[in-house]
Structure formats: structure tokens, C-alpha cells
Symmetry: C2
Subunit: 362 residues, 2 copies
């Protein structure tokens, strides 16, 4: 069974196909006027799925070249991005080529940014292979690489021509990756759909076991909710900022620990617990909801105790966040589950929350 | 006297102010909600004009930081681009900052690309200081850096919020730079406005002497003509390609000689002479027009004899051009002066023209 979510933004309209066996149908998303295809992947995903992906893409009748990037968030930098440009230029791919991103969020972000910049813009197809990238980085057109001074600081808003989500491939993921991805799933419930948060609580075991019906629905609903938000606000001037719930804390964890130590979704999961505590102190989130957030993040298998970076280092790291305006710290906060606001928080309250969440007192 | 040309494209509307003393009025182009300003320049231009530019920008009441990049086309690469990101992040400039490009085409291209990619897009103001950048890179939103395998291969279509053209600054340019810039000026006559080409022929001495009325009109008319073409076709899918008249040959000269040996405008000037000869052989351009192109390129002080790269190396270098589709060489050609078409040319005819223009037989 394949479900389709249609994404409409000012920058592009495209379908997300979600189902089993999509990997063998990639040619269905290759436009007729494409001159050549570059499949970009990493050794881990490539060993498992590149052969099938290439066979499917070749059914379009186009030449397919493969570019393999080193695996991991630590390689989400310019040097690695340049390997894509090297491969495209060495093989003389022109501006009517198609890039295909086969991998997780790192591959998707890098291939998307490369597609936006190669010859000032070529088309790309997303084939996300992790829970996180399937629910998150495949919708919204955010592409980027990291800079030593901040995560995702260099990038573009750039939409794929289509997203192909094969839920079968999740079975080869480490359990930790699944937990990290589910953190972003429950985020959608928290910020915009209380009923979906309830559903996640009720189905946490099925989700962790990758039950096909549960996981397809979770991905579909997450994509729908994100598409709704992004459709209202492609350039992140207003509503879209709520998608960063848990991310101000999460980005600080990633930068403070060194990119790659914590998975992005793990950092966001823990960051949501912290943002829940900050919401209690600022927007009046009730204690029961704070506990429900903590418990569900824990139930999906993510860490709930932040690393001890030192309070001042925490604040410094959060100030690099892209939401910061004029040095003023801004957060996505919840008045209640299913409703989010973006606002500043007094520094002493933030410090207090950092202390409180640093040990498991919740 | 200040003239304004308004540019309207799907990606943005902005004014180009052309006149004397504009450098002291930069604050007039700073939006009220800007949080901080980064002036990006090189040591050559910076020594002459940074102080005045900073003083003008500070009249807006904003903090101004300065980022100085090494000077020259050879530095139009990722390493140098990264100096901009380093400076912006070290100074914690947020997504409401304004980048100001004070310099020639290299500075404009790099700052524009940096603005498109920093935090996925911040605003920038163009202050072009060469004839070439005033007539060319300040209109159309093309930004890019070079790759060892090709010029301008990595970039974005990204529009400035305004362009401030101070014609006074041209007086400190080397004569060679003026000649190179005038090559792009006469290009507009050749591809779209025969009367403007006649005017350039009649005013070549005044243009080379930087007569204020002549140079302001030449810049204004070039900007108007380019704005017209770009307004029709922002993403270079059709009409806009005619702006590349002389560029397929020109880019090969620049890549073959090593970036920075020939000035871009010099390579384009010589490339227009070659494209004129190729037009005679393919689109029926008459011999008198071929001679007029040759003579005016020579009269503005640009080289008219291409470097001897070897015919096969020439063809190889031209195949990397972004206009290439499926390995097929495409050129901008003139049926007559003031009218341009984009079409393929048989390889033997191209080889023949390469031989014919390699010695001064015209």
C-alpha cells in the first residue's frame, strides 16, 4: 500500500510517496527531460540499497553515476559537499541532470544544498532511509551544511521534485536511530495536534517495533502536519518556527558535545523535555503535561537528561541559534500540548531550567 | 545627478541608483529592521573607499563590521567564501543582518552567494566599483564561485535589495579594467539594441575617458537592457541565455589560461570577436558587421586575438560551459547586429573559426 502526501509551497509542489517497496519504483519519479542521474549515498546505506536504487533508476533509460560520501554528521561540511560537485563535474553532468539523495538527513541536506548550488540549481529526488529524515528533512526544503561555529548555518531553501519513502528500509536501522526519529514524530503532536500525541502514547510499542500500519500512519501524519506548517510559511518568518520545538536546546547539545556524539533526534528529544520544563515556567504548561512529554520521550528510547555543559556554555551555544535576533534568546514554548508559541524567555529562568533538567528530578 | 533603473524579476524587485557621490548615501538603502551590517571588500578597494562606505552606512545607526577578502578572480573559491561565513558567525550576525558588497564582480558574486546561503538567506546590497560589475553583475541575481573544473559552477540566483553605483569610483580603476568593462557594454548593443551599438561606436573615446554623461548613460542603458532580458527569464531557461554572447569562448579562455590571467571582460571581448566569426559561418552575419565587432572591441582596448590553447583543448573547455546539454555545444550567435539566437554549431565549423581567429586575419 502506498500513501501520497502532496506538499504545496510557494517554492514548489511535489508528492511524497510512502509505502513498502518504493525503492524499486524510483524511475516513476524521473522526469523525461533528465539528461543523466547522480545517485548520492554513503557506504552504509549504499551497501544495503544502492544496487536496487540504481536498477530502478536505470529503468528510466538514463545513465546513472554514483557518488559515495563518508557517513555521518561530522562529514556534513564543505569538504564533503565538494565531493558531490567534483563527481558531477568530472562526469560532465549538465544543468538538466537529476540528483538522487539515498540516505538519512545528512545525505538529504547535503544533496539538496548541492542541487540548489550546482550550476545555480538542478533538480533532486529525496529517498530518505531513516525515520528522522522520512518525517522531517524530506518536507520543507531546508538544506544545509554545518560550520565549525554552528549547525546548518550555510544552506538554502530548495524543494525536491518528489520524495520516495520506502518504509521497508527502516528494518536495517539501529534501534537508536529509530528512537531518535520518533522524537521528531511526537514533536508534531506536541506543537500542533494533541490527538496525534495521544495516538503516539497509545502506539509507542508498535512504533518502536516498526509495525507497518503504525509507522506508515506516523510518517504520513508527520508529513501532513509539517506540510501544513511549511505551506503557510516557507521562509520561516512566522509559524514555521514552531517546528523548532526542542531544537534550541537540541542544537546546543549537538554543538556542545561535538556533532555526531548525540543523534540529532536524541538531542531534540532531550531538548523537548527541557523546553517542556521551560514552558511550565513561562507559558503555564501544567505539570501533568510536562511529565507526559518526559515519559513519552523516555518511552521511545531517547535520553531525557541533558549533558552537563556548564550553564554559561549552554547559554553561549544557544545564542548562536538562527532564531536569535539581536542576541536575544527565543524559544518555541507550549501553553498546552498541541499548541506552540515563539517567544523570549528571561535568562534567569532559562538558567534555572538548565539546572533543574540536568538531574532527573521530573 | 542620479538616475534610477528599476529591476523587476519574479525573485525580487529592486532599484539601481546610478550617479556621482552615491558612496556617501549608502544608508539610504539600509532597511530599518536590519540588526547589523557586514561590509565585505578587498584590500585594493577597501583602502580607497571602505572608510567612506562605513561612515555612510553608520548613518543608519547600525553596527558595521568589515570583512576583507583577498583580491582577484583566483580567490573566487570556497576557501575565500568561507572567510565571509567565519566573519559573520564570529560576530554573531543573525538572519536579519545586511551584507554589503563593495568591490568588483568577484566581490559581488561571492557576497551574493554568501548572502543566499548564510542562514539560508540574508539580505545584501551591491556597491559595484568596476565598469564590468556596474553594468553586468549588479543586474540579474547571478551569484557564484568557481570550481577547479569550471567557472561559476557553484552558486545561486539571488537578488540584492538595491544596487548603488557611484561612477566617481571608476577614476581609480586601471585602464585595462575600464576596457574590459566596456566589452560587456557593447555586448548589449550587439545582442538586443543596434542603435546602442551605433552610439557606443560614436562615443568610444568619451567612454574610455570616463566622461560622466557618457558613462552614466552607458551604464544606465546596459542595466535597462539587461533588466529587460532578466525580467523575461530569471532562471535562464530561454531568452536570458543571449546575455552569454561571447561567453562560451570567453570562459574557455579564462579556464585555459588560468583564472585571473585575462580579465573576464577581456576574455568576453575576444570571445565576441570569435562569436562574430562563428555567426558569419552559421547565422549569416555579414562581413561588415563582423569587422565592426572586431574594430569596436579593439577600439575599447580589448584583445582581439585569442590565445593558442590548441583546438582540442578549446573544444574540451567549451564543453564544460553551463549552456551545454547532453555534451552538445551551443552558442549565442548573431543573424545581425542587435539580434541574437542560441543554437548548436557543427564541430568542424567551430574548429575552423578557432583556426581563423587565432591569427589576426580579420
Amino acid at each position: 500500500m502506498t500513501t501520497t502526501v502532496n506538499v504545496a509551497t510557494p517554492g514548489g509542489h511535489y508528492p511524497i510517496h510512502i509505502g513498502t517497496g518504493r525503492l524499486d519504483h524510483l524511475h516513476e519519479s524521473v522526469p523525461a527531460d533528465v539528461t543523466a542521474i547522480a545517485l548520492v549515498t554513503n557506504p552504509t546505506v549504499g551497501d544495503l540499497y544502492a544496487k536496487r536504487a540504481i536498477a530502478a533508476l536505470q529503468k528510466s533509460g538514463k545513465t546513472v553515476i554514483t557518488i559515495t560520501l563518508p557517513d555521518g554528521e561530522t562529514y556534513k561540511d564543505w569538504q564533503t559537499l565538494n565531493l558531490i560537485f567534483d563527481g558531477l563535474l568530472q562526469n560532465r553532468l549538465d544543468r538538466k541532470c537529476l540528483l538522487v539523495a539515498l540516505g538519512g538527513g545528512v545525505i538529504g541536506d547535503m544533496v539538496g544544498f548541492a542541487a540548489s548550488a550546482y550550476m545555480r540549481g538542478v533538480r533532486f529526488l529525496q529517498v530518505p532511509t531513516t525515520v528522522l529524515s522520512q518525517v522531517d528533512s524530506s518536507v520543507g526544503g531546508k538544506t544545509a551544511i554545518n560550520h565549525p561555529l554552528g549547525k546548518n548555518m550555510i544552506g538554502a531553501f530548495y524543494q525536491p521534485i518528489a520524495v520516495e519513502i520506502d518504509i521497508d528500509v527502516l528494518h536495517t536501522l539501529p534501534e537508536r536511530e529509530i528512537s531518535a526519529g520518533l522524537a521528531e514524530v511526537i514533536k508534531y503532536g506536541l506543537i500542533i495536534d494533541a490527538a496525534f500525541f495521544d495516538w503516539c502514547e497509545a502506539n509507542v510499542a508498535a512504533l518502536r517495533a516498526l509495525d507497518p500500519d503504525a509507522i506508515r500512519y506516523a510518517i504520513q501524519r508527520s508529513c501532513e502536519l509539517k506540510a501544513y506548517v511549511v505551506g503557510q510559511d516557507e521562509r520561516e518568518s512566522g509559524l514555521r518556527a514552531i517546528l523548532n520545538f526542542g531544537h534550541t536546546f537540541g542544537h546546543a547539545i549537538e554543538a556542545g558535545m561535538g556533532y555526531g556524539e548525540w543523534l540529532h533526534g536524541e538531542a531534540v528529544g532531550c531538548g523537548m523535555v527541557q523546553a517542556g520544563a521551560l514552558s511550565a515556567a513561562t507559558t503555564g504548561l501544567d505539570a501533568d503535561s510536562v511529565k507526559r512529554i518526559h515519559d513519552l520521550v523516555q518511552a521511545i528510547g531517547c535520553p531525557v537528561v541533558p549533558p552537563n555543559l556548564g550553564t554559561e556554555r549552554w547559554v553561549e551555544l544557544m545564542q548562536v541559534d538562527k532564531k536569535t535576533e539581536g542576541g536575544h534568546l527565543r524559544f518555541v514554548l507550549l501553553p498546552k500540548i498541541g499548541q506552540a508559541v515563539v517567544q523570549g524567555a528571561p535568562l534567569n529562568v532559562v538558567r534555572d531550567v538548565l539546572h533543574k533538567t540536568a538531574v532527573p528530578v521530573l
